[in-house]
């Protein structure tokens, strides 16, 4: 009998499958011209790119693929009017509004139910889909790998370029499979895992790589947990991160405002089922991070790689990857080697951001806050990641739990993740669900400790850094 089977295709990774379909041209030296399916804009740069395009006399090539929102400098205080608190902030808002109107770009304006942090709303409303290439003027665009989208953060000039040409000139990154292995305690969160990954491989650990997060732990995660893990890939220097799609991915996107409908949806899902990395696909690098019996994680220093288990002690600089940096971090953070991280008093607590501002994050925190009160010395805020997240949380009564506990309940946006208008008071110590503990990130001399929503909620109650398991009884 003649073997009529088609010649077997070389096994490919998820990244390879997305990349190959989108390469328009190869410029050599690893540089490619990549077709881009979606362009996401926020006011910090989006308006500048649109204005630059107008000045050059060019048009947006495919306006239907562009979505704009306000998140970075938009006021998040209750009853906001749309004014920006940052000096110069109003100009950014105005520029995006004018540019969007001029170029026919869909903008989720301040009163729009669809407004929110760009990396929260784009999977929430199925603006981004598995197998697509997406750019945004934001480094955390890698978040979108949680729904098997290749998200590339780029600068304002490159945004202008993509708006005009629907393509990006970019290096083809090498591929890395990063497998999380081990048995996890049930109480551990995705944030703890990704902080542990950064602590293990370092802040420059995946420089030049597109990373596929893999392993049984990732398979078992919810989509929102996957978005959290991919969000912080840029903190270990990855060009992007992706996770192979499965039925959970499709369920998360189904019914999203911009998702394909009916027969088209069925066709899309059938194609997406073919996207997962082939079993025998070869990656340029394989990394395994042991997560067995992991404790909740918290950062002590000024790089996301400065992580510790919550039961741990501040390290000596000599034990760190970069002793000189560690010495400066200790000084900035006002910590001394050997002191336990738990028990350190905090002045501020922040729950929100593109890392941990989704409904599941708010639910987890609310579970801890229910029938408890924030310590009187702590200023605590919860900033939902999108207007929809806020509405859904309110429908479940989560806002009452936050407010009764003593949290400020905000409108959606990036808020105090960085100095986008408001700051924590100079020198305050803050425990935060955000992604960057850089010097002065949340205010002048502010000391930021990154942690999960659970740990932040528990620490806000205790008035010092503490794991949720160690918290005392609830009030009666």
């Amino acid at each position: 009998m003649i073997n009529s089977a088609p010649p077997r295709r070389r096994p490919r990774t998820l990244f390879d499958k997305i990349w190959q379909r989108h390469v328009v041209s190869d410029f050599g030296d690893g540089l490619c011209l990549l077709y881009i399916d979606r362009i996401l804009l926020h006011e910090r740069g989006g308006g500048m790119a649109l204005a630059a395009l107008s000045r050059a006399g060019r048009r947006v090539r495919r306006p239907e693929t562009v979505f704009a929102t306000f998140d970075h400098v938009l006021d998040t205080r209750p009853g906001r009017t749309g004014a920006a608190l940052a000096s110069g902030g109003a100009e950014f808002i105005d520029a995006l509004r004018r540019g969007s109107a001029f170029h026919g770009v869909e903008l989720f304006d301040i009163a729009d139910e669809r407004q929110g942090i760009v990396h929260v709303i784009s999977p929430e409303q199925a603006i981004v889909l598995p197998g697509t290439t997406v750019v945004c003027n934001d480094s955390h665009t890698c978040t979108l790998g949680g729904v098997s989208t290749l998200g590339l953060g780029i600068g304002t000039s490159d945004i202008e370029h993509v708006l005009a040409t629907q393509t990006l000139v970019t290096h083809r990154p090498k591929t890395m499979r990063l497998r999380l292995e081990g048995r996890l305690p049930a109480s551990l969160t995705a944030k703890d895992l990704v902080l542990h990954v950064i602590g293990t491989i370092g802040a420059a650990g995946a420089n030049g790589y597109a990373v596929e997060m893999a392993g049984a732990i990732v398979r078992d995660m919810t989509v929102e947990e996957r978005l959290t893990v991919c969000n912080m890939a840029v903190e270990f220097a990855a060009r992007s991160a992706v996770i192979s799609p499965d039925e959970k991915t499709f369920r998360y996107l189904a019914g999203g405002t911009f998702a394909p409908k009916r027969a088209l949806w069925e066709r899309a899902v059938a194609a997406w089922r073919e996207l997962a990395s082939d079993a025998d696909a070869v990656f340029d690098a394989e990394t395994v991070v042991d997560c067995g019996d992991l404790e909740p994680q918290v950062t002590w220093g000024t790089s996301p790689e400065h992580t510790l288990p919550i039961g741990g002690a501040v390290p000596r600089p000599e034990e760190c990857r970069d002793p000189a940096r560690a010495r400066r971090s200790l000084e900035y953070m006002e910590l001394t080697p050997g002191m336990p991280i738990a028990g350190l008093p905090v002045d501020g607590a922040f729950i929100g951001s593109c890392t941990n501002g989704r409904l599941s994050d708010l639910r987890t925190a609310a579970e801890i806050l229910k029938d408890r009160r924030v310590a009187p010395t702590v200023r605590a805020l919860c900033v939902p990641g999108s207007t929809r997240v806020k509405r859904m949380a309110e429908a479940e009564g989560l806002d009452r739990i936050f407010v009764n506990a003593g949290f400020e309940w905000r409108e959606s946006g990036c808020s105090l993740c960085f100095s986008g208008g408001e700051n924590f008071e100079p020198g305050r110590r803050v425990i935060t669900t955000t992604n960057r503990n850089f010097e002065n990130r949340q205010g002048r001399f502010v000391r930021s400790h990154l942690a999960s929503p659970k740990t932040v909620a528990a620490s806000a109650i205790a008035g010092h850094i503490v794991g949720a398991d160690m918290l005392g009884n609830r009030a009666r």
Binding site: D29, Y35, R38, E64, G155, S157, A204, D322, R436
Partner: protein, 208 residues
């Protein structure tokens, strides 16, 4: 449309041998405005000034007399990591920097450098350390040269070090041409890729 060609550069090198210098440190968020000009004043603000009034921290390298007019910055690994803010590159240029020499760069920062004609020079760690030590020794008295066409650094000790820059990027820098003009020559290929993908995967057009 073109910008200034970048071919041969000569100037003072300043050492800032730290790893993972993030763009929040290069330019703090609160200093960013819609305008690019004038950002140099806020370059490395938190390290350069000891208070909001602009009182200088004398120990920071760019406040030392020898490096006030530096043109090249020598950094460590993963330079420009973190936020995608292009203002980091605009601030470096506005201060007077024409090239950054480092062991490696944040991916987005590297692309932003190219878009603005700031030359990113990636070198081995040993080379970076040697150049930083040399920059410290000569204290701005002797000049460094960078030849973009041949991808060579000429430090003042008479040696030369090659670095890698993709041909396309080299061409952009040397000609001062904008990437957009090069890419629009590929319009037919762009169109073909778009048509094929949209035909095979009609859901790529957002459903409204």
């Amino acid at each position: 449309m073109t910008s200034e060609p970048v071919i041969r550069l000569t100037g003072i090198a300043a050492p800032l041998l730290r790893d993972n210098v993030d763009t929040d440190q290069i330019i703090p968020s609160r200093a960013i405005r819609l305008q690019k000009a004038g950002l140099g004043r806020s370059l490395f603000a938190a390290w350069r000034y000891s208070d909001d009034a602009g009182c200088e921290n004398p120990e920071f390298v760019l406040n030392r007399e020898a490096y006030r007019r530096a043109n090249f910055l020598i950094g460590g690994a993963n330079f420009g990591c973190g936020s995608s803010r292009e203002a980091a590159v605009w601030a470096l240029k506005d201060f007077g920097f024409a090239a950054i020499l480092a062991e490696s760069f944040g991916n987005i920062f590297y692309a932003n450098c190219i878009a603005n004609g700031l030359v990113p020079v990636a070198l081995e760690r040993t080379a970076v350390s040697r150049l930083a030590a040399l920059a410290e020794d000569v204290e701005g008295r002797d000049l460094f040269r960078i030849d973009v066409e041949s991808c060579t650094v000429h430090p003042p000790d008479g040696s030369s070090i090659r670095f890698f820059l993709p041909v396309l990027y080299r061409r952009m820098l040397v000609s001062g041409k904008k990437m957009i003009d090069v890419v629009l020559e590929h319009e037919d290929e762009i169109e073909a890729c778009e048509q094929r993908n949209r035909a095979e995967q009609p859901w790529l057009v957002p459903v409204r």
